[in-house]
């Protein structure tokens, strides 16, 4: 059987298993077994056990549960109120006023959390009712929360980036560093959109109702000090290389516990709830990662990835056309799969193409994170849309429509980093000049 036929067969098998409702990790495992059946004398079961062991017992990967844990702890604190109260007095002068709390608040929470849905939920929990009460336009409010929530995975730490780093075998720290500037870029695009929108619809922005002296403003913001310190601690240890990614994650956990304790939210129950929550998220991801590494091994034996890379190279696409095609493919995949599965499923076949087209793998990681962000804010399985749909009580199509402008802003972000890849690469190159 030649490779194209085999590739098609595996693709069909995987699609049937996934759509039939078999758990994603197990679907990958089954496809892996299938791909190895065509190779004579391969001890498939032994390869399976070894791959699971090697991918699980990894010191680099130990950063993953710790970063998840950090987010789980902070999610259970009063951080959302503190961020809202601390930010809102300072934003009244901007066109769009408190709407910018959504963007900046998510940016701040995103730099301590690695999850998009958790970031969205944390900020929306307080900002959505407050903005509605004050008479802000609900559609823009919902849309900006959906869009800005995805900053959780773009601004480090990021669970998605850890998974990509492991799948693509690039440095977690470099990938984290590469996420900062694109994170600011996306924030600037969102805030810019809000500014333009409010200038076009001045009647829809209520007047500023917070009047405080500078001193009062500072007092309102003092609760932001601990989280700011935590962000600085995590960022500094990444940039200056004081600690490995795993140690940095452990510091993040301890810092988060300290914040939770300081605000009086740390009880034995909440501590244990955060541990068990972490175990569940982590186990879900690890089953997918373990199976994916097994599937990758199977694919490597068959030679499909190389064949596909050569086949795609045969079209002589320009790098831009390749990125455009991949963006379209990922948007399509994102309608059925979550971000983690998208990464582990596609890296094995896509990375060889990307390398031969001359893209940097760290750059491509950021590209993938942004296309996953698009999936989070587009129906039918955008997690951020689910979060906002339940929190606002609005219809799912309403929320999806409100998020649409922010989806397109992410497309713009992809275009910008493709044309100017330095936005992604300048920080990691500055910190690790080699």
């Amino acid at each position: 059987m030649d490779n194209i036929e085999l590739a098609l067969l595996l693709l069909i098998a995987l699609t049937v298993l996934l759509m039939g409702g078999l758990w994603i990790g197990l679907s990958l495992l089954a496809t892996g077994i299938l791909s190895m059946l065509v190779i004579p004398d391969l001890p498939i079961g032994k390869v399976l056990a070894t791959k699971f062991w090697d991918s699980g017992a990894s010191w680099t990967l130990a950063a993953l549960p710790l970063f998840i844990w950090m987010g789980e702890i902070l999610f259970r604190t009063r951080m959302s109120e503190e961020i809202f109260r601390g930010l809102s007095p300072w934003l009244g002068w901007l066109p769009g006023r408190l709407m910018h709390v959504n963007v900046i608040g998510c940016g701040i929470f995103g730099s301590v959390s690695g999850s998009s849905a958790a970031t969205c939920a944390t900020i929306a929990k307080i900002a959505l009712p407050e903005l509605k009460k004050r008479g802000y336009d609900e559609d823009v409010s919902l849309g900006s929360l959906a869009g800005a929530g995805t900053l959780g995975i773009l601004i480090p730490p990021s669970i998605t980036m850890v998974v990509y780093a492991v799948a693509a075998d690039v440095s977690i720290i470099q990938l984290f560093l590469a996420g900062f500037l694109p994170g600011f870029l996306v924030m600037a695009l969102y805030s810019g959109y809000i500014v333009v929108w409010s200038l076009l619809h001045p009647e829809k922005t209520p007047p500023m109702d917070i009047h405080m002296t500078f001193r009062e403003k500072l007092r309102e913001s003092k609760n932001l000090i601990p989280i700011t310190l935590l962000i600085l601690l995590v960022c500094a240890s990444l940039i200056f290389g004081w600690a490995t990614a795993t140690e940095c994650a452990a510091w993040g956990v301890v810092g988060s516990l300290a914040i939770a304790g300081w605000s009086g939210m740390l009880t034995w129950d909440s501590f244990w709830a955060s541990v068990i929550g972490t175990v569940r998220v982590n186990a879900m991801i690890m089953l997918i990662l373990g199976s994916a590494s097994f599937l990758s091994a199977g694919m490597a034996y068959t030679g499909i990835p190389r064949g596909l890379a050569e086949w795609v190279a045969g079209f002589h696409l320009s790098p831009y056309a390749l990125i455009a095609a991949l963006t379209a493919m990922y948007i399509l995949l994102g309608t059925a799969l979550d971000g983690i599965s998208m990464i582990v499923l596609t890296t094995v076949v896509v990375l060889p193409m990307i390398k031969s087209a001359g893209f940097d793998l760290v750059w491509f990681g950021i590209f993938m994170v942004i296309v996953i962000e698009m999936a989070e804010v587009s129906p039918p399985v955008g997690f951020n849309l689910f979060v906002l749909q339940t929190m606002s009580g609005r219809d799912s199509m309403d929320v999806a429509r409100a998020a649409l402008p922010f989806f397109f802003l992410l497309v713009v972000a992809v275009a910008i980093i493709t044309v100017w890849p330095d936005i992604v690469m300048i920080v990691p190159k500055w910190a690790y000049p080699d």
């Binding site: 759509m19 078999l22 495992l29 062991w53 010191w59 510091w251 175990v279 982590n282």
Partner: protein, 184 residues
């Protein structure tokens, strides 16, 4: 209502492995802090990297059965959520049977790996030279308990019970947020 002892024992098993996974997580964090602080004060934690790698595997795999039971393992619901109850029931049974075969296969070969490590006295390559089957037990026990939980679920669903991984839709906004925050 008194639950039957087998049910209690199985649920206890999933819970216990989940707790062990949680303890491994706490262990990684403590170990990394020791390593990080120790470096500053000139105190070296011997083999911390390896131990944390083993704990990472334990955290990951010991927790899978518990995660499966609470419905946190992801799957694509686009199609099956729209099936009529009868077709849905049949699909669930086919899917669970397939899952049982696959997890059984995984459990068998992880047992085989650990048995080989034990039989041939393989030792960890690194600073800490303990027999490698000891840390590998985390993967092995996790895979076996996952297999048990899938078979358990298959038997329950065939018997007409609602799958436990299919959770009640959340009633309050807080519950929804809590649940959705567990997606990445």
């Amino acid at each position: 209502m008194r639950r039957n002892p087998i049910r209690r024992m199985l649920d206890g098993l999933y819970w216990t492995t989940g707790v062990l996974a949680g303890l491994s997580l706490v262990g990684i964090c403590i170990l990394m802090m020791l390593l990080s602080i120790g470096r500053e004060v000139g105190f070296n934690v011997k083999g911390a990297d390896e131990i944390s790698a083993w704990l990472c595997a334990a955290t990951a795999y010991l927790g899978i059965a518990y995660t499966f039971k609470t419905g946190d393992l992801v799957r694509v619901g686009l199609l099956i959520d729209r099936l009529s109850p009868g077709v849905r029931y049949a699909t669930e049974i086919v899917v669970l049977a397939a899952a049982a075969c696959l997890t059984g296969y995984l459990a068998y070969y992880t047992l085989d790996m650990v048995w080989d490590s034990f039989r041939f006295h393989e030792r960890a390559q690194g600073i800490i030279s303990i027999p490698i089957w000891i840390p590998q037990l985390g993967l092995c026990v996790g895979a076996v308990v996952l297999f048990i939980s899938v078979v358990d679920e298959l038997v329950r669903v065939i018997g007409g019970a609602k799958p436990c991984y299919e959770r009640e839709p959340p009633k309050t906004v807080e519950e929804t947020i809590e649940r959705l925050s567990e997606t990445v």
